[in-house]
Symmetry: C2
Subunit: 232 residues, 2 copies
């Protein structure tokens, strides 16, 4: 039966925006793992794999259930050692944890200011009733106030991505000579923005743009073909 990948979706099941699920989708493709995707609404998560996780991504590998995008990457390296690594060694895993925290603190917060209300709007009604109060409690204000839009936060995003830019000034990938999980972490954040807003506000001559385009082309261009959410 192979691997089942539970991927967050909007009201339209083809719209997949979760930054964490994008990491996993890229990681599965990177490892050459065949998988079946199950589009999953927020409020459907408690019903998958006997309530194994409160969040997606979750994979089920012939019944072995693994939640959490980072743990899934570690699991894939462990179970598919002959495929290209997501982490080359323990030092790379530690660096990956650093990037994971950096992205959450410095990039996800900005993408949220850009599009959190738009994310709400692409969800099904049941999900909207869960999403709005949970996020408004987290932000301490209505979604309509927390979202200040793409343009208002574009400069902050470009500034936050400076460590990515500086790395790409010397290496083709954040992983060095080849894409690794460290690439998929910020790539997931930008796919989150792209699938909701339609594009990413980076100048064409920004090295981050060139890298993002290379990532979009990886693994048969799966990410480039991902549908963008349509306003309701």
């Amino acid at each position: 039966m192979g691997v089942i990948f539970y991927d967050l979706c909007g009201r339209d099941p083809d719209v997949r925006f979760s930054p964490y699920c994008w990491r996993t989708r890229m990681a599965l493709a990177h490892k050459g793992v065949r998988f079946e995707t199950k589009p999953t609404a927020f409020t459907a998560i408690p019903g998958i794999e006997s309530g194994a996780s409160k969040t997606v991504p979750v994979i089920s590998d012939n019944g072995r259930v693994v939640p959490d995008s980072f743990d899934i990457a570690l699991y894939l390296d462990e179970t598919h050692p002959a495929a290209p690594p997501l982490f080359s060694d323990k030092a790379a895993i530690a660096a990956g944890r650093f990037l994971e925290s950096w992205a959450f603190q410095n990039v996800h917060s900005i993408v949220t200011r850009m599009v959190v209300k738009d994310i709400h709007d692409v969800l099904g009604e049941t999900d909207q009733r869960y999403f709005r109060p949970s996020r408004e409690a987290r932000f301490g204000r209505p979604l309509e106030e927390h979202q200040t839009g793409v343009d208002a936060n574009a400069e902050a995003l470009r500034t936050a991505l400076e460590p990515v830019r500086k790395t790409l000034a010397r290496h083709e990938w954040l992983g060095g000579d080849a894409p690794r999980f460290n690439d998929y972490i910020p790539f997931g954040a930008l796919m989150w923005l792209r699938t909701i807003a339609g594009s990413v506000p980076l100048a064409p001559d920004d090295p981050v743009s060139g890298w993002f385009e290379r990532c979009l082309d990886l693994h048969g261009g799966a990410a480039r073909q991902a549908p963008v959410a349509k306003a309701a």
Copy 2:
């Protein structure tokens, strides 16, 4: 004759505060390289090794001159492959570039707000006449205004160090199982603060504190014994 290490110093030549020089001092010790240190004032840098660099650290390895803390680390790995690595592979070098940029953007800026006027005060008079106008031009205001002090910026520092903290929740070192150059990057930033201010404002139960103490003990405790600047 071996390696000569040009290390920034204050009016008191035993006071060594440069975050970049701390990276190099730790890297040399890490590689087991014997070296002679030449304390170097800011305004003496143009006179070293025929003006090889506008900044320190600089090393001269039997006449081969290498400036820049990152390039020195790469050089040491290349020339001492049998000693413990500073970077385990190309992916680690790319991750190191990421951390270098992250530290500059997110940590050095805060340490500067904490102690830049105090740094000025520990310099010799000639260095002070160079330091004040160059930094005031960079900040667009007097040192006395740019420095708002350790306490006023302590929470910002703790927040900025969150990716370090999250990594250390799972790994003993930022390098994974062993210290690597990725440890010496933020360690250098905190040594900058410690040698000027005398201590680092982290809670004893903060995992970053435990890691900082472990770093202080590395290589014979060289960093722990480093003199703290005395107010003039």
